[in-house]
Symmetry: none
Subunit: 197 residues, 4 copies
């Protein structure tokens, strides 16, 4: 076989890196940073232990990269929120549903775990601060204000209302709901926090 050219190699590199990041997301979310062994990541990714180190210089760097990319993804998705249609209630509902969506669970869990667990690389913590919930709230604040103006939402400091509301959604996102009898609270129930009547 002829050797791969530079571009092909780069594609392979990217694929491998993505494969490792996906595997480690799964394992970190489940076992936490210290509870996750590089062997678990390798085995989840179906590669050898040593190979991780061709793509990431350490477990810590892998973790940092992962967190940072998750935050960037989240942040990027938020940018699209402006274009949301419907009433403030419907807009917040859409955001909430998106946050609670199964597909985003691991990322949220990981981010949240990271927030709580101090036994993690400092750089990850710094990233968290940078992309913290405030960004989300800043973006959504106008919707809250509009909701209050139209009388749909409770009247109180909109910053606080938004901050509290997303703290709660965030917290809920982290739970293991699979085994619970009634599953995750419905979005409608959650939104009673915001919605008058």
């Amino acid at each position: 076989m002829s050797p791969l050219n530079k571009q092909q190699l780069e594609i392979i590199r990217d694929e491998r890196a993505t494969q490792i990041k996906q595997a480690s997301l799964k394992v970190f979310a489940r076992y936490g940073y210290s509870g996750t062994k590089t062997s678990m990541i390798a085995s989840e990714a179906g590669i050898s232990e040593g190979l991780i180190y061709r793509y990431f210089s350490s477990k810590e760097e892998l973790f940092n990269t992962l967190i940072q990319e998750l935050l960037e993804d989240a942040s990027r998705e938020l940018e699209n929120l402006h274009q949301l249609q419907g009433s403030p209630y419907e807009q917040i509902k859409a955001v909430t549903e998106n946050m609670l969506d199964e597909a985003n669970r691991n990322a949220f869990i990981l981010i949240q775990t990271t927030r709580m667990d101090e036994d993690i690389p400092q750089k990850a913590t710094e990233n968290l601060k940078k992309y913290s919930a405030d960004t989300l709230i800043d973006l959504l604040l106008p919707i809250f204000v509009k909701g209050q103006e139209s009388g749909e939402f409770y009247e109180e400091d909109p910053c606080r209302l938004a901050s509290w509301y997303f703290s709660i959604v965030n917290s809920i996102c982290m739970q293991e709901w699979g085994k619970e009898e009634y599953g995750m609270p419905s979005v409608e129930v959650l939104m009673r926090i915001l919605k008058k009547n």
Copy 2:
């Protein structure tokens, strides 16, 4: 000089055990089971690492004991809830405030962390199952029903309502609130989930 008598020694032993349990509660809650090193516990308790093992046969046993005692304490406190005074709203408010109280935070965080972290002694997990949130809900269900009968609370399956409500309170309990701009959501806001109007 004469040696300490049996009773004095027992007091010392009890004190030390308590000291170690308190220190480890703090550290386990903050760093998780695997993130917590025995050296951290020792240093938090102000003792040598070896001393831990005169009181607990292993890090795991210490953890199990801790979880079990926290659950027993929680369970014992719940037994007192029957005697709560006031309207259903006021009663649930009291329970919620108790759960969110700073003094109980570490315990809640630890229990919650344990629920999620798979990298944890099995015995602790079993204990968690035994004393799980269901107990709390079973005890409080009558209050919810009364609240619905009196028209104070939303009308829907009271089990689900209670389950969801306490899941949310539980989740909130786990967060680090110290640094957040608006702190923890107020109980009144939370209770909008339950309270009509």
Copy 3:
């Protein structure tokens, strides 16, 4: 460069395991189970301490494996004894010489030490019982009986005679003879225990 193939890896693994077992035989025989530190084994084997644990799950398992294999080897060698040539005297002499042979010393010492030392993994003790001296004696009993019938050996309970004789050989085997002035008793002298005149 391509990685090693499966077969090559298995060869390496076998070699390492053997290397570790040989080193530990030497050290265990010399210092006893508790007197042997994993660092001594590693250093004797010329490897790092951690590597031991890729081949054996613990010091105890290494010890058990070692004992079991030595017993199996010994047992296998005994099966060949039937084919011994010569008079009963010559046959027992051959067996005795084999037992006292330098090459088998460490194994005998280890087994014997294990028999006496109570501070030893239970599984090893159980193995010892299974493969105990009785097997040897059962196999050789016919030779003793023939020796008595031909008038070569003393006439007494052949079981007891055999049992005592091999107890003595066993005991002798365990001694450090290197430094003693006259070395190990000669086989001829030992066999006076058996041989009339």
Copy 4:
């Protein structure tokens, strides 16, 4: 109560020291030097762990003292052997029986274990050399010579004969005989090594 006077105190000291030495003899003989924990000695002696250190500066010193005293005792007993009555055969028989006597077993086992186990204080090893089997043999050599002159014993280098004979008796002494089917070899059988016909 009036304080004890100096002499009484010294008696108590001696008693305690003896108590500790007896207990440690039992435990060292059973578990070996490294397998013996100071807690085992304390518990066997019925005293607290710390007390050992008022009488012996370390586990090592206790062990050395023990070995040395055992050797001195043995040596002292040997001095009485001159006065033994009877034929050389009867005299050696008496010595052998004394060595194999149950009451002396622990001491012999300990000394023998010490001989083999390198994981022991060096001073003990030195003591062993000083009081080694040679002393015994030197004392008994005349008896062997007389036995050969009278035609009772085999004719060969009497030093070697004695050395080998007592090596064998020594080795036998160390075995655990309690569980063996036929027990320890009888003295008569052993003495066939020496006795013509």
